[in-house]
């Protein structure tokens, strides 16, 4: 967590939004001005920040921490106006909607608008840190590759002029970090492994770190587990721990976050994870 941008990705269900919210909270506690952006339409980031209905315009979560979500039509309008300097767009709202439909068919245009919004927030330097709850690992590649795809595909047009600074920010290891959240279970581990492989091969992003979530401690005790709930819970804890150990060996894990027992609300989860994330690292 340095200055710049943290993109948080991971397979569905691993706690990606919780880690993104916790990262934003921890950075805020370390005195940074932070913007948290939800790049997905799941609404998970807002729930973990205690503001379930985020809008396109950043709203204040606490002093120094604001949060927003990417509404594609708004992002597209802003992109056309601010980035591409297409004039008189206010009068052609329906055209922008129709353009969105056209853009859906042209590879990477939608993705470049979404990731472009996030990168624009980094570029304009209003924040010390931008934290994005990014697309899940299954789709993150099309966002990270969007600028490159545009460059290969679009022979001319204003969009081409925009992709260079985007790539520069994304691939700057000082500025941009991609966090892959995983669980130590088969599917998330293998998907993370695959993602790391193509990320390294294609050099799409500055730095990549891996956070394993819901990690259990080893349970050590003497003798055989007794009958009844004491023994049953012990056997479950041991079996789950062993299963996690099997998958832990597959990944270069940078940070482990523990299984939070008895936590109820998403906001509570994010606060407790923020306590555990060291803002100095």
């Amino acid at each position: 967590m340095t200055r710049g941008l943290v993109l948080v990705s991971g397979k569905g269900g691993v706690g990606k939004s919780a880690v993104a919210a916790a990262t934003a909270l921890a950075a805020r506690r370390a005195g940074k001005r932070v913007l948290a952006i939800d790049m997905t339409d799941g609404g998970g980031l807002g729930a973990h920040l205690g503001e379930p209905d985020l809008g396109f315009k950043p709203q204040v979560i606490q002093v120094g921490l604001e949060a927003s979500t990417i509404i594609r039509s708004d992002a597209l309008m802003e992109y056309l106006r601010v980035q591409l300097r297409v004039p008189t767009l206010a009068t052609i709202g329906p055209a922008a909607r129709a353009f969105d439909a056209l853009a859906a068919i042209a590879p990477a245009v939608r993705e470049v608008v979404t990731i472009g919004k996030v990168l624009w927030e980094v570029k304009r330097e209003a924040w010390d840190l931008v934290v994005a709850d990014a697309a899940p690992t299954g789709q993150i590649g099309s966002f990270l590759r969007a600028a490159r795809t545009i460059r290969d595909l679009v022979p001319s047009g204003k969009i081409l002029d925009q992709v260079q600074w985007m790539e520069d920010i994304l691939t700057d290891a000082e500025q941009t970090e991609l966090v892959l959240v995983t669980l130590l279970e088969e599917l998330p581990t293998l998907e993370t492994e695959e993602t790391l492989a193509w990320l390294n091969a294609d050099r799409l992003v500055g730095r990549t770190t891996v956070i394993s979530n819901r990690v259990l401690d080893a349970l050590e005790f003497n003798g055989d587990p007794p009958d009844g709930p004491v023994g049953d819970t012990a056997l479950l804890a041991q079996a789950l721990w062993a299963e996690q150990q099997e998958w832990a060996g597959h990944l270069p894990v940078d940070t482990s976050l523990p299984y939070l027992f008895g936590t109820r609300t998403p906001a509570e989860v994010a606060e407790r994870l923020a306590d555990l994330l060291d803002p100095g690292t």
Partner: protein
């Protein structure tokens, strides 16, 4: 008649495993069963013991069990070949934009899944088809996909872009007439715009066929029994609730919510006898609190929605053969009759 069981829910809750387990159990109960899966883990595919391809394949030892894997791209090619003129269809599937378009259209993977499921339901070769749903946005897409596709192909937007009738090439030279085309021209460049426009003109010719098919798919989905899988964690529960709120409008109310990874209720409030090792006592306290939290989540769900609440115990190791898949369903409690 072939019955359909649709298994849905948030990502990471074990949907695919539950689908496979239900399929094995139904097969053993004497129902000729096809499991249509989306993207199974290697270990689950191994556990199921069927070589998974785009075509239904019988299990070597389970006489009533078949499985197939969804291939959205192949399904889309079939859809286009079925509903467009042969030469247009060939042009479409070989178009460089075909892959992006069919993966980017709203709900297109879901449409492919629903369309493939319907094909197997129409085939009448099985008593039961268990459908695992793609992890698309909210999962509700699986049910809204047919009408979304119809709307997209026949909708004002596309008509507006390509003209009232399926237009000829003249449209391409007319693009300065419409603000959206001028805009697209500036942003994307004329060359890409022309390729997109040509693609759209071809694609619109499938409208009549796709619209008709979409209505058939919707009829199937209204008759299907939907099971919503979740864990007791807040995020998937929130998603599960969404199905109960929104599904009645587009399909049928789910028949059950299935809480996977459930802990025994006997653990709630259990205390360690005196003399228990501190580590074990602490561990009991943790899992007991977790079990209590889970029960609260189930009860709150039951208070909000009038539905069967089923549980599958937390198995520390994922199923690794058909026996353990069958055992998973045997250990379930509260599951209504699905076949």
């Amino acid at each position: 008649m072939t019955r359909a069981v649709v298994v849905t829910g948030a990502g990471g809750v074990g949907k695919t495993t539950v689908s496979a387990a239900l399929g094995v159990a139904a097969g053993r109960a004497g129902r000729r069963t096809l499991v249509l899966t989306v993207d199974p883990a290697r270990r689950l595919a191994d556990a199921l013991g069927i070589e998974l391809t785009n075509e239904p394949t019988p299990h070597p030892h389970e006489p009533n069990l078949w499985a197939a894997m969804l291939d959205a791209s192949a399904s889309w090619q079939e859809v286009v070949r079925r509903h467009a003129e042969p030469d247009v269809a060939e042009r479409l599937v070989h178009n460089e934009l075909f892959a992006t378009a069919t993966s980017h259209f709203p709900a297109s993977q879901s449409f492919a899944a629903a369309e493939e499921a319907s094909t197997y339901l129409d085939a009448k070769a099985w008593d039961l088809v268990v459908v695992d749903t793609p992890p698309a946005a909210g999962g509700i897409e699986f049910f809204t996909a047919p009408s979304q596709m119809t709307e997209l192909l026949g909708g004002r937007l596309l008509r507006w872009i390509t003209g009232a009738h399926v237009p000829g090439r003249r449209f391409l030279f007319d693009r300065t007439a419409k603000p959206v085309l001028r805009l697209a021209d500036q942003v994307l460049g004329a060359n890409l715009l022309e390729r997109v426009a040509e693609f759209l003109m071809d694609f619109r010719t499938t409208y009549d066929g796709v619209a008709k098919r979409a209505r058939q798919i919707e009829r199937h989905m209204k008759k299907a029994s939907t099971v919503v899988v979740t864990t007791a964690d807040p995020a998937p529960v929130r998603q599960a609730e969404k199905f109960f709120r929104e599904l009645p409008d587009v399909a049928a109310t789910p028949v059950a919510v299935l809480f996977n990874r459930s802990l025994p209720e006997e653990w709630i409030g259990a205390t360690a006898p005196s003399g228990t090792e501190p580590a074990l006592a602490e561990n009991l306290w943790r899992w007991s609190a977790e079990s209590q939290r889970q029960r609260t989540a189930r009860r709150e769900f039951g208070e909000r929605y009038d539905t069967a609440i089923a549980t599958i115990p937390w198995h520390p190791h994922p199923p690794n053969d058909v026996e353990s898949l069958a055992a998973m369903v045997e250990s379930a409690e509260g599951l209504p009759t699905l076949w």
